[in-house]
Amino acid sequence: MLSALAAGLHRVEGLFDRAFEARFNPWYQLGALGFFFFWVATVSGVYLFIFFDTAIVGAFESVERITHEQWYLGGVMRSLHRYASGAMVVTVTLHLIREFVLGRFRGVRWFSWLSGVPLLWLLFAAGIGGYWLVWDRLAQFIAVATSEWIDWLPMFGDTLARNFLTDRSVSDRLFSLLVYLHIAIPLFLLIGMFIHVKRMKLARTTPARRLLYGTLAALVVLSIVRPAVSAGPADLSTTVAIVELDWLYLNTYPLLDSLGAGEVWGLLVSITTLLAVVPWLFPGEQSIEAAPAVVNPANCNGCGWCFKDCPYEAITMTPHSYKPELRQAVVDPDLCTACGICEGSCPSATPFRNVAELVSGIEMPAFPLDRLRLETERALAASNVPVVFVFGCERAFAVTGIESTDVRCLSLPCIGMLPPSFADYVARQDRVAGVLVTGCPPADCYFRKGSEWTEQRFKGDRMPHLRTLAGKSKVRVLWAAAHEGEVLERVLRTMRTAREDAA
């Protein structure tokens, strides 16, 4: 089921790739957009707070003044505050759906998933609280409904709703508490967001520059075309019979009327619980593929390249277990996603070494270096005509589908697992016309950094570099997501033609 959904998602993303290029595709940086909207809401919120009257009698009027007397700045800030918050709900929801559909919650990634769940509560609490402060008719509706809703909980009794019986019963103290909560909850949200990305190396928390400017411009346009306004002052002597809701934040409120407070609590707790156990509900196949990386101290010289490259901060460097003066890599199996990127980073991972069984400093149990060399040779030997050799990635375009007598392929769990020396190893053979290295577009590598590091290694910007006597022009790096086969085949055709021309 997930794979069908993933195919649909990739289709949509493909459309965006064409309009934005993969680098700026918003689908690949939904989490980063979430951070960005948070900052927009923070900056605009600080501005609003300067002019906001935190007393219940002055709150509404002060917001009116901000909105109308300085519409060009205060008004725009208010709209930005509202729309950035709304945009955050949209992107975070899509982010959740996407990580789910792509299965990026499995294995040790459970932490990223689980730590995301409480953010939803904080996000909604922050948004609902914000609407409350305006103390207009919408705020009144929220105040009455929320207090009745919370009072359903046995520990509250009827304590909250009694505050909103009449205009006189609303106390300044309670209102100040709400103002304070509207600062405290987003602060907790921010802390939660940092915990959420803590286990990831270089988590992408800022969208690509052009996407960022485009999004900000779009929000400003929206703020000018449709400024956020209030809905008339609160007046508890009449019930708010009909009200324009923010359906992004306040979608539970109609349910309170139709289902009842207890049922809505039940529903939310069930949804939250269900979300929280997703990593254990859909564990995926538990195979050796998921076995964490293993360090072989005899072949580790302590260079630290794997430590720098691990996208999940699963590697630390410690004193070497028996070589004095040297360090050694250590893998924390609870953090390792088995991406294999470290295997591709190790200087001892070269196929040229003349040993019976090839062993490198750090390896994947499911795909050790020896197997890598064996399968490369097997793929080469399967044909005796001149070939183009393709190293691909299981998560990206399925290269094995284009295999033929003159196109030989090897698909890896992540292209970051490929030590550049392997491309050299293959390229040196006379019969090989070219080597093509491919995988997910760097903006959306399944293991976050595999494509990016590979690109840098092959360019010579990151260790280990590609060095080849065959000439670097013989080796090409080209990214192609699962749905981007045509691009790849087009390049393959040119490589084949080049070969025929040379022949």
């Binding site: 064409r18 729309y83 009827d158 009694r162 779009a218 019979a241 009200v243 992004l248």
Partner: protein
């Protein structure tokens, strides 16, 4: 050139869709919380009832069992009476409940919050409260005709100090028939 135009158009469409979605939902379509022609009555009070039973004298044996400094001859129960509250609109009982005092010893205040939606118009409201288990019948009662326009809120509270119900909201004629205490029926 063509791809640049195509891309820019594509991005424009994507951004437009995004702000269209956010702009259309925040705020989005109106929601009707209260049907036209209805008004609201909120019956809400918080009140500590009288002690549940009269104070009594300790027997001699009981006194003997107590430490000398604890030998007070009268004991009064801490527990409070539950409240019995009834609301009738146009002579139809719409709310009738026994409210238990809070606390494990049932020595706190009892409270209630009820929001009712009623047809707007002139309504005869009759509310009564019993807060003393030691006495038969209701101790407090108020009957009043109120006029509620659609969406009006009538709050019915109880002021223990004055020993009377408090009506707030709608248009109330001058006070008519409230009478504290004693009105056993």
């Amino acid at each position: 050139m063509k791809t640049v135009v195509f891309r820019s158009l594509g991005q424009l469409v994507a951004f437009a869709m995004f702000i269209g979605l956010v702009g259309a939902l925040a705020p989005g379509p109106a929601y009707r919380h209260l049907d036209a022609g209805l008004a609201t009555i909120k019956l809400s009070l918080r009140h500590a009832g009288a002690p549940i039973a009269p104070c009594r004298e300790r027997t001699a044996e009981e006194l003997a069992q107590l430490a000398p400094n604890m030998r007070q001859s009268t004991v009064c129960p801490r527990e409070r009476s539950p409240l019995v509250l009834e609301l009738a609109l146009d002579d139809r009982v719409v709310f009738d409940a026994t409210l238990l005092p809070r606390g494990i010893h049932r020595d706190g205040r009892a409270s209630v919050y009820q929001r009712l939606s009623v047809p707007a118009g002139d309504i005869d409201v009759k509310v009564r409260l019993k807060d003393d288990a030691r006495i038969e019948g209701y101790q407090y009662q108020r009957t009043q005709r109120v006029k509620l326009a659609p969406a009006d809120v009538l709050v019915i509270d109880f002021d223990a100090e004055r020993g009377d119900f408090v009506f707030d909201g709608g248009s109330l004629p001058p006070r008519t028939m409230g009478h504290p205490a004693g009105g056993a029926e």
